[in-house]
């Protein structure tokens, strides 16, 4: 374990992603290696989404039940409102986040989250379900729900990392980062090849002098024309005159 060279720099941001990135870069700058920040814990469990006919049938049945009739909510007794129609328990996002993360960290909840991630559940879907449930319980407002999407998603991602699962973030994007890495690597190699080819081409053509060319290889009449025209000679592939 490396000893950090200095204390952490002050970091503050309205975006958790930005704050996390700054913290990682700050840690690297202070002397931590990436392996110390994110240690390797062996091969990951692939949380691949699998098609389930039963699940699809359930979804279809639910959507066939239909939505509420327009104006249905207005027919409800005002003395007996739904929880989300009452003032929320937490109007403060920080307090709401503490409550939600506290409930996520419970052993039973964590077990279910890990199981869902391992079976192909996406981080965004799990986060949505958690926050939506809190809204339904009347704990938070829709605005707070939107504000907490990012921290809750990151908390679920951290649980997935701790459980050593290769999880989906949204939909079925398990290998998205790896594919991007591969594409980037391929592009880099192609660029490298092009650069090498250009260098070879430049090096080969630079040393050619008409006087040194063997007359047995190129007829003298052609060489004479080359000497006569010199720079006027254009490549067959060059842009023609318009």
């Amino acid at each position: 374990m490396g000893t950090p060279k200095r204390q952490p720099n002050p970091i503050i941001s309205s975006s958790l992603s930005e704050a996390a990135a700054s913290s990682v870069l700050d840690g690297l700058d202070a002397g931590f290696t990436i392996d110390e920040i994110a240690p390797d814990t062996g091969p990951k469990i692939r949380g691949e989404a699998k098609f389930s006919q039963e699940g699809l049938d359930n979804l279809v049945n639910l959507s066939n039940k239909g939505g509420p009739i327009p104006g249905q909510s207005l027919t409800r007794d005002s003395e007996d409102p739904y929880p989300w129609e009452t003032p929320p328990e937490f109007s403060n996002p920080r307090e709401a986040l503490d409550d939600i993360v506290g409930s996520i960290m419970q052993p039973e909840a964590m077990k279910n989250i890990v199981s869902a991630l391992a079976q192909g559940g996406a981080v965004a879907d799990i986060g949505t379900a958690i926050l939506y449930a809190k809204f339904n319980e009347g704990k938070i407002t829709p605005d707070v729900m939107m504000m907490l999407a990012e921290p809750v998603m990151y908390t679920i991602m951290a649980i997935g990392e701790e459980a050593n699962i290769k999880y989906n973030i949204e939909g079925n994007d398990l290998d998205e980062f790896d594919e991007e890495d591969n594409k980037e690597e391929f592009d880099n190699k192609v660029n490298e090849f092009r650069n090498v080819l250009t260098d070879i081409k430049k090096g080969a053509t630079k040393n050619i002098e008409p006087s040194k060319i063997d007359s047995n290889v190129v007829p003298e009449s052609i060489l004479a024309q080359v000497k006569e025209k010199g720079p006027e000679i254009k490549s067959l592939l060059s842009k023609g005159e318009e």
């Binding site: 002050p10 309205s14 704050a19 931590f32 965004a124 999407a149 908390t155 990392e161 790896d178």
Partner: protein, 333 residues
Amino acid sequence: MGLFKKLKKAFKKVTSAVKKVVKKVVKGVKKVVKKVSSSKILKALAIAAAVVVTGGAALGAMGATTGAGLFGSAAAAGGTGFAGWMTGTAASLTSTALGSALATPFTMLGTGLGKAALALGVPAISNAAPLTAAQTAAAGVTLPSTIPGASTANVATGMNLPTTIPGASTAASGATVGTGVAGVPGITVGSAGSGTLASNVTAGMSAAQASTTAGLQSGSLTASSIASGAAPQASWFARHPRLTAAGISVGSTVGTALVQGAVGQYIAGDPEQQGSMAGAAVEGGEYLDPLKVYAAQQGINTDSIYQNMMYGNQDPSSQYGNQLYQQQTFGVA
């Protein structure tokens, strides 16, 4: 469109945006950290984000599988490892401008006192502790480890006692000599003459010899204490009470006058400069802390700053969160 459908759509947008941001941040970090896979950076980001959200304690609650203080309970306790480093409360306190500003004057004060003492030629002498050999040597005092010839057997030689005491005889005094002077060799029982026995015994001695003899007689001075060397010497200040008192008096008078003058000038401000802030209204480090600078840049009212979600080690609510998550929520092996 109903409320729930709107919420669903909005949430879909938010989660997609979060994913985009995650990808963008991973790419951004990857540009800095070369030859590291994106999934590794994603892991580092997830860990750092969880530490930021929960103050590192959530990772401790997860079960401490990776050990080495990274995710473990050490992280929650502000121990070693990346998480511990990120959440080190003492570090974050001293790293602030205010913490440094508070620490500096006290350091200077301590140094100043030390310098003054050295200037007086007092090499860190404490009244409580006895002098060490090094301290006495530095002060120019050389104490013998033993007094030559000081033993019960030949105390007379070592102390240069007179072999006979003039006029000391038991016959003249009529008193019984023997019990009191049995331990003092060289005293012959003859004519005691006038005066007490003690005065007669010490009559021919120097002041130091007389003091030692009196000590031997009273029992406060034993042979072992003589052999082990001198009694601890009092400090320089104790030995020079008048000079010390005078120094303290002069120092306090001058110091008080200086402080009074400085404070008066500080409160009054500079009358020459128009438009300057009034005395004692100096813009301190408090107004320059990262949170307030950030709030000012983002147009956030600091009165309602608690309502704004902010992240990072300078966000006060994250410190509040650190305390909240000190409790253990999951069994740690």
